[in-house]
Symmetry: D2
Subunit: 157 residues, 4 copies
């Protein structure tokens, strides 16, 4: 199932290395010795979680159906137009980000505003594609992987 997730992301134009790069930029200030390989491993761990897989499958299906004009109205217009107050895309992404606690949620909020790396490119690429869910899901995965790393590097008192 984890392999299917990589294929699904690839099909929508996202390489897991792009996600790992965001994780590295987020966590480097706190753990200077962190490598891209470790970030990639954290992304894979996140993608092995069932809740993450279900959220990805659902969000990406909605993006694809909107692209094909198959959603019932008014949902079709809302998703295809990436209506700013829709919020279900952020909601699904937060279900991913919150797996590793509050650190994941705050990192997601930051990525959602800064639109770092691939997230910004997805958010802008709306010509022939619907990426309403994809940009948030990628941010959610990056935030969860960051939180995983933060928890590993810090020691309990």
């Amino acid at each position: 199932m984890s392999q299917e997730m990589l294929a699904l992301l690839k099909e929508r134009g996202v390489d897991v290395r792009d996600i790992a790069r965001i994780v590295l930029r987020l966590q480097k200030p706190f753990s200077p010795e962190l490598t891209l390989e470790e970030c990639l491993e954290a992304v894979h761990s996140v993608l092995r979680k069932r809740e993450v897989q279900y959220a990805l499958l659902t969000g990406l299906a909605l993006d694809k159906l909107a692209e094909q004009g198959l959603l019932p109205e008014p949902l079709q217009t809302i998703v295809a137009g990436d209506e700013p107050l829709y919020g279900i895309d952020e909601n699904l992404a937060m279900a991913i980000a919150s797996i590793y606690g509050t650190v994941g949620i705050t990192s997601f909020g930051y990525l959602d505003k800064k639109k770092m790396g691939i997230i910004g490119r997805l958010d802008k690429n709306k010509l022939n594609r619907v990426n309403t869910f994809l940009d948030d899901l990628v941010a959610g995965i990056a935030a969860a992987a960051s939180a995983r790393i933060a928890h590993h590097y810090c020691k309990t008192p």
Copy 2:
């Protein structure tokens, strides 16, 4: 838009009075003088909220698309089969339930297990229909309306 929500629920076999009846059963022990009309008014208030409308539109679209076999696999099998650990249905419903704070979320958890009134009937009616999202969304609306009433009847210290 609020009228469209009533029509959408009706089309899926749910009358808002069924939801109001659940609210009455939940809140009667705490407010013995509560009437069905007041519960109905609370349900209408919940249905006027934009977040609620977006969650309803999205969940009911997924139920309908699964019924028509239009979702991509493996999501089609998961939603059509109401896979117990899917969780995105509860997730959307909790976005509704949490609008009036923690009281809404705990009431949702209770309804999700007890499957009171129309919720139980929807959960069982899976012969010709997919109600994977509908039962949870109805529980979420009932929980939010209950929390709204709880907040109104209690006084701040």
Copy 3:
């Protein structure tokens, strides 16, 4: 730190076996072969999580300080009187319950209303003690342990 958690709960009148018994009652209908030992192991796993430990330390400190009359007003009156709309107790407990996803949150909502086993006894024992946080924290731990077991017993499609 996990041993300190057991001591802390014990000091407030809660044995981890009481929590394991709730988990068993919640999960038995779904996994008939489940034993009390397995439930106890799940409770221990939950208590090893840092977020759980921090929530427990905070909530139990607030209960104790209220018992000693050391909280500033109006918080002292609110916590000592277990004011029904306070909600911060449920909030902390949900941070625990949500560690294993939505199943944990809905189980918490159910326990919060049903007040099963030790939870009901704590909720009633308010003569010489403040258990405003304790009953919810115990429900949160039981809900998290239940969700952990549910995830283990179910297979992904």
Copy 4:
């Protein structure tokens, strides 16, 4: 009670105008005609909500008790030292931020990282004071007020 909140914040060194200024910086890019007075009005609306008042009372009591060395160990060391993975401070703040939906939560995550205006000053001022909860609570109020304004300015489709 709303007046008590202003007094409580003032006592901890926070003027509501400082919070309104953060709201203005967050929302100005989306609503160029927005004024500081409107942001101040949104902050007051947030402070009138009971959940917000309860979260503020609880968090600020914990900061004060830690300052006086009155919390039981190991909580005293954790709160007084602003231990980075504690997370209960962010948890309380998110209960505030989420009142107006996902927009509030993502804005909170952004403020939590950027430490804009008064939030940054509080986060640094740890010489004679414990502001472990205060900085997050202020960010939570600013995020909730921003979300309130975002919802008012946008129109439903």
